[in-house]
């Protein structure tokens, strides 16, 4: 009996199915009125913001809602300089010229519309550590998808950096990826007119696709948390540390821009809890969930839980361009065949439209990434 047939003999005998994972309807015990504050003050112009969300129940549906009408300011803890933030598309932002500088100490002060106040503890902007190298390695089995029960292909992006000696360093990485976007709008059961998809009296196919009227890039963000503490590698060179997984959603070429933030010890502890909640909850040794409480507090009520954190950090970035056209594996996003609106003898209301603009948003941009290669 050869090895293979022995295997099948035993498999038949045991009928073992270990480590089975099944989707179940998510269970929550929603509580109304929870406040979540996420604030960032960075050394990059245009990169600072504060988001305030509150859990609400509207018409029987539990959700979180952006808290409008708050008074939000960055306060320099040493000089007392105050920078007011204004409300803009679901966030509070300072003027575009604002940037924090290394060594400065900042905190935030918030007064909600209902008068509740939330302050943060002071955060020192630590010097950033430059990234010396970046590498992308394709892996046909990059990560396991519980939903499909199979491995997914993609690129692991790794970096190299020299950790400064004799000082505690805590790192947090995030990224933006830019991939060519051909279709800027898809209208289901309707047509694209005046910047919107709308119904029409004339029968349509299931959908119409509208190509971008300029070069356009789809922007994606990480789906996991990457952090690192140098307590075992102080002053050493960390080589090829994977900081981003970029699944093969499409086979379009892609630019990945890695941002490296230098954190304070408290901020690192916060992101460690966040990582446990987001990435480490599925294993056999999953830590029980913890409250995501950072450095925010209610100065008038010590027992008021406020979630989230204000982080002031210096940032260094590095980009990499990845060609993906020749990858043999199938892309993960379903490929929808182009369905273009007829332009000749069109039955639909004029003007016949086949393109849509590449509107700037967090998820789409017409600004070409610096390292993009045509």
């Amino acid at each position: 009996m050869n090895k293979i047939s022995i295997k099948y003999f035993f498999a038949l005998l045991s009928l073992v199915y270990l480590g089975c994972i099944n989707p179940v309807e998510p269970e929550f015990e929603f509580k109304e009125g929870l406040v979540f504050i996420e604030g960032i003050a960075t050394t990059v112009k245009g990169g600072s913001y504060v988001i305030i969300n509150k859990s609400v129940n509207e018409f029987g549906i539990n959700k979180t809602k952006f808290e409008k009408g708050a008074s939000v300011s960055f306060v320099n803890s040493v000089s007392g300089q105050t920078v007011e933030l204004v409300e803009l598309e679901g966030a509070y932002v300072p003027s575009i010229e604002f940037k924090a500088n290394v060594g400065e100490q900042w905190e935030i002060q918030i007064t909600l519309e209902d008068g509740r106040q939330y302050y943060s503890q002071s955060e020192t902007v630590l010097e950033s550590v430059p990234i010396t190298n970046i590498k992308a390695t394709y892996n046909p089995e990059l990560q396991f998808n519980n939903g499909t029960g199979s491995f997914e292909p993609g690129h692991a992006v790794s970096i190299t950096f020299n950790d400064p000696i004799s000082e505690e360093n805590y790192y947090y990485w995030t990224f933006k990826s830019y991939e060519n976007l051909l279709i800027c709008q898809v209208c289901f059961d309707g047509i694209y007119r005046g910047g919107l998809c709308g119904p029409t009296d004339i029968a349509t196919p299931d959908y119409f696709s509208y190509t971008c009227d300029t070069d356009c890039w789809k922007v994606r963000y990480p789906e996991s948390i990457s952090i690192f503490d140098d307590k075992f590698s102080d002053g050493k060179t960390t080589t090829d540390l994977i900081v981003a997984n970029v699944p093969l959603y499409t086979k379009e070429n892609i630019v990945v821009e890695i941002q490296q933030l230098s954190l304070t010890p408290d901020a690192y502890d916060y992101y460690k809890v966040l990582k446990d909640l987001v990435d480490n909850s599925s294993g056999f040794n999953a830590p029980p969930p913890a409250a995501l409480i950072g450095n925010m507090f209610n100065p008038n009520d010590a027992d008021d839980f406020v979630f989230g954190r204000f982080t002031a950090a210096a940032t260094s970035t590095i980009d990499i361009f990845i060609e993906r056209g020749n990858i043999p594996e199938n892309q993960l996003d379903p490929q929808m065949p182009m369905s273009i609106e007829p332009t000749f003898m069109s039955p639909y209301p004029a003007p016949a439209t086949i393109e849509a603009p590449c509107n700037e948003s967090r998820f789409k941009t017409a600004i070409q990434p610096e390292v993009w290669m045509n």
């Binding site: 295997k7 099948y8 498999a11 045991s14 009928l15 073992v16 199915y17 270990l18 480590g19 089975c20 099944n22 989707p23 179940v24 309807e25 998510p26 269970e27 929550f28 015990e29 509580k31 929870l34 859990s55 549906i61 979180t64 998808n145 939903g147 499909t148 029960g149 199979s150 995030t174 994606r220 990480p222 789906e223 948390i225 952090i227 503490d229 307590k231 590698s233 050493k236 060179t237 960390t238 080589t239 090829d240 460690k272 809890v273 966040l274 990582k275 987001v278 909850s281 599925s282 056999f284 040794n285 999953a286 830590p287 029980p288 969930p289 995501l292 409480i293 979630f307 989230g308 996003d333």
Partner: protein
């Protein structure tokens, strides 16, 4: 007057002589009555020639008797007479012999196993009616032949998994690195193998027990008034005994199974002087795992365990044994979260236990014994980190070295009065961790300082009957614990948790001491021949704990002895029960209630990370605990159909006492511990069809494990983050499972030296998909949308099994 005096003195003289004569007669008479002789009964298994412990001896003429000790010996002094001695042992044919006792008599009785009479009941008292006679509460025993017939996963005889079928015993789920007894944590049980503690009792992350199945003699679980000779854990003691190799010829036994194969040798080395048993088991079939699931393609899982026992009989009054135990695991599993801050391809777990016990028992006479043992227990877990893009491996290793010396004198003064007293000295040396970079350029060597501590204990226990029908067991244990230098004591701001400084202690300097006085009391009031009431109380201290922040610990999780910040755990346990036997003691009913109040239970701060943490006291919280419950059990221990049923209602709660808002758990209110299971029902039924076939069924059902559901969801960049306020605010679906086993013995021995049997087991007969955990995940477009509906997060349920686990094991004996 003279005449009167003469008569009087004559009377006095006669009276004096009469008195002298009377004294002489009485003296002679009493001398004759005191002429007693020793009757020593030695009981053996006719087939294996092994002594049978706990065989019941009944002597008709004196209406007296007792049970054999662990050498199979029972002795008694009786007046010269003729006696009928009846020997009874469950599963064996009774024997009666007549003895004319006119000198010291030593009789050997070989009992023949009767398959059709063999009780399959796992839990049984040492004597048929021990449950009514002894003041010991909450004690359960499992013996080797019963252990092997319990249906268990993949056909492996498994001590810990079998124990979970008993009332009040549970675990963390299908995979569990230990037991939870009466709602206690996994590290609150003292697991002993021939007196040596086993710090990591499972293979493969909790799937199987490490104890080599073929060498186990018995397993005793104490969970109420724990005998005074035991200390160091606050909920229970699981005392596993290795067989004494009383053999006069070579015997080879073993088994071949899907998960592991095993071999056991028993042989005399010097006839009647030196004997040996050596058992081993190896699991090397991880190459099958990719067939099970694609996700397990990179999984490696290998394990070995081996037990050696040498028995040396230098004189008829001395017995020296040496037990050696070795266990090793190596695995790599993607379902375990990788350790943070070391850049590695994966994490591999490699850990081993090496224990040794040297035991000397000296018998002064049939009533007095001195038992002395020396124990060394060494547990070394290691994590291997293969570096990215180079062949170097970084290693993390920690270690617990435990040494113990104990000596205990025991004496049976009369049948209802006996005592033991002893001393014990333990040394704990913990190496919290060492990181060895090898040739790595990216990691530096780290070595945390060793922790040395000692525990000295003295104890005594007396069993007596103050009045008829009342039996009392009164024990007292005193322990003195000291943590000694070299040691670096952190100075921590209790409000902020910040490290203010470090105080250094020189080698041998006392850092912190604790004393514990632990009364152990048990009382049994026998209301009539079939009914008794028992009460118990026990206080216990625990100076060593396992620190981990998951449902079940990794084998590499940190152990920590008490210091100035981490105080000893203390429990006070109370019990009350009523027991009744029916049908000539073949049916036992029991109703037992308990309440345990514990202090300094160890839990962890939110987000705690203990890996190579120098001052982990900053990451842990000590809180209060309480556990209470009622256990009902009914057992039928003989007959062709036998078995038991038990139902437990219980609660296990914890409470933190923290000032700092972020460190509070459930805002310092009582919350359900991970081992809170309000309703548990277990049942086993055995059909002993004929002498060739035995069928067994187990059913277990219980309330689901507490887990934590989110109170809201917020978005951070592109990630939906669940927000939690409380711990353990929901429950997994109920756990239930039916198992079946069929043991087939060969009818006729084709070759008398070779005997084989087959064990066919089906674990989880009706394919129950019992949840181990539920967790949230980021949603992906179109994936499981029909299940997740409008939820911002997806949710997955992790189960260890979703189908019956069928296995077939061949066992053999060659002698």
């Amino acid at each position: 007057m003279d005449e009167l005096n003469k008569t009087g003195s004559h009377f006095i003289r006669k009276a004096f002589y009469f008195f002298l004569g009377l004294v002489f007669i009485i003296f002679c008479s009493s001398s004759l009555q005191a002429q007693e002789y020793s009757l020593v009964v030695e009981v053996f298994d006719e087939l294996t020639k092994q002594p049978l412990e706990s065989a019941e001896i009944t002597i008709d003429q004196c209406s007296c008797g007792g049970i054999t000790n662990n050498n199979g010996i029972f002795s008694i002094n009786l007046p010269q007479d003729s006696y009928s001695v009846n020997v009874n042992y469950i599963g064996f044919k009774s024997e009666t012999v007549t003895v004319s006792l006119n000198s010291r008599q030593n009789i050997k009785i070989n009992l023949i196993e009767e398959q059709e009479q063999l009780s399959e009941v796992i839990v049984r008292a040492k004597r048929i009616n021990d449950n009514l006679e002894l003041p010991q509460m909450g004690a359960l025993q499992l013996q080797t032949q019963e252990l092997k017939k319990i249906p268990s996963g993949l056909g492996e005889a498994d001590v810990l998994r079998s124990m979970t079928l008993l009332a009040g015993v549970n675990n963390a789920g299908e995979i569990s690195n230990g037991l939870s007894v009466r709602g206690g944590a996994l590290d609150q049980n003292l697991l002993l193998l021939d007196n040596a503690p086993v710090f990591n009792p499972t293979h493969l992350f909790g799937l199987f027990s490490v104890f080599t199945p073929d060498v186990i003699s018995s397993v005793d679980l104490y969970r109420a008034n724990i005998p005074a000779r035991y200390g160091g854990r606050i909920t229970s003691v699981l005392d596993i005994k290795v067989k004494n190799p009383y053999v006069d010829k070579f015997k080879l036994s073993g088994g071949i199974g899907i998960v592991s194969s095993r071999l056991n040798i028993e042989t005399p080395i010097i006839k009647d002087k030196l004997m040996m048993t050596l058992g081993g088991r190896a699991g090397l079939t991880d190459f099958l795992l990719p067939l099970v699931s694609e996700r397990l393609k990179d999984t490696k899982a290998k394990f070995y365990d081996s037990t050696l026992k040498l028995l040396y009989l230098p004189t008829k009054d001395d017995q020296v044994t040496f037990t050696g135990f070795y266990s090793k695991d190596y695995y790599q599993l993607d379902l375990i979260t990788k350790i943070q801050n070391i850049n590695a391809k994966n994490n591999q777990y490699d850990f081993k236990t090496l224990n040794g016990t040297l035991n000397w028992r000296h018998s002064f006479n049939d009533q007095s014994n001195l038992r002395t043992f020396l124990v060394v227990s060494d547990y070394s877990p290691k994590t291997i980190f293969p570096e990215v893009d180079n062949p170097n491996e970084i290693e993390f290793e920690s270690k617990i070295n435990y040494q113990s010396f104990a000596s205990e004198f025991s004496k049976e003064i009369k049948s209802d009065l006996n005592y033991y007293l002893g001393i014990q000295a333990n040394k704990y040396q913990i190496s919290p961790g060492e990181l060895r970079p090898g040739n790595s350029n990216s990691v530096e060597a780290v070595s945390l300082a060793k922790e040395n501590s000692y525990e000295f204990a003295g104890y005594a226990n007396v069993n007596f009957k103050p009045v008829e029908n009342v039996a009392v067991s009164a024990g007292l244990r005193f322990s003195h614990y000291v943590l000694v230098g070299p040691f670096e004591q952190a100075q921590i701001d209790q409000t902020t948790g910040l490290l203010l400084g470090v105080t250094e202690f020189e080698s041998g300097a006392g850092v912190k001491t604790y004393n514990g006085l632990e009364p152990r009391l048990g009382a049994n009031i026998k209301l009539n021949k079939t009914t008794s009431i028992k009460a118990s109380y026990a206080r216990l201290n625990q100076y060593l704990q396992n620190v981990y922040n998951s449902t079940t610990p990794l084998p590499t999780s940190r152990w920590k002895t008490a210091d100035s910040y981490i105080k000893p755990q203390i429990s006070d346990a109370y019990g009350l029960g009523i027991y009744k036997n029916f049908a000539n003691n073949t049916i036992e009913l029991g109703l037992e209630g308990y309440y345990r109040d514990s202090k300094n239970n160890l839990t962890f701060k939110p987000g705690a990370d203990f890996f190579l943490e120098e001052f982990l006291e900053r990451d842990v919280i000590q809180g209060d605990g309480q556990a209470y419950g009622v256990e009902f059990s009914i057992k039928k221990s003989s007959g062709k159909v036998n078995g038991w049923l038990n139902y437990t209602w219980s609660r296990s709660l914890l409470r933190s006492n923290n000032e700092k808002l972020a460190d509070r758990i459930n805002n310092n209110k009582w919350y359900a511990s991970d081992f809170d299971r309000p309703h548990v029902i277990n049942s086993t039924i055995n059909f002993e069809g004929d002498k060739y076939n035995t069928w067994s069924f187990n059913f277990t059902g219980q309330t689901g494990r507490p887990y934590t559901v989110a109170n809201s969801v917020f978005k951070l960049e592109n990630i939906d983050v669940p927000i939690f306020i409380e711990r353990n605010n929901a429950r997994l679906r109920p756990y239930h499972r039916l198992d079946f086993s069929w043991n087939v013995k060969y009818g006729e021995k084709v070759n008398k030296r070779w005997v084989g049997d087959w064990t066919f087991t089906v674990y989880n007969v009706y394919s129950r998909r019992n949840p181990f955990n539920i967790y949230y995940s980021q949603r992906q477009p179109g994936v499981d949308a029909d299940v997740f509906l409008g939820s911002p997060l997806g949710s997955y349920e992790l189960s260890i099994l979703n189908s019956p686990l069928i296995s077939l094991t061949y066992n053999f004996v060659f002698q």
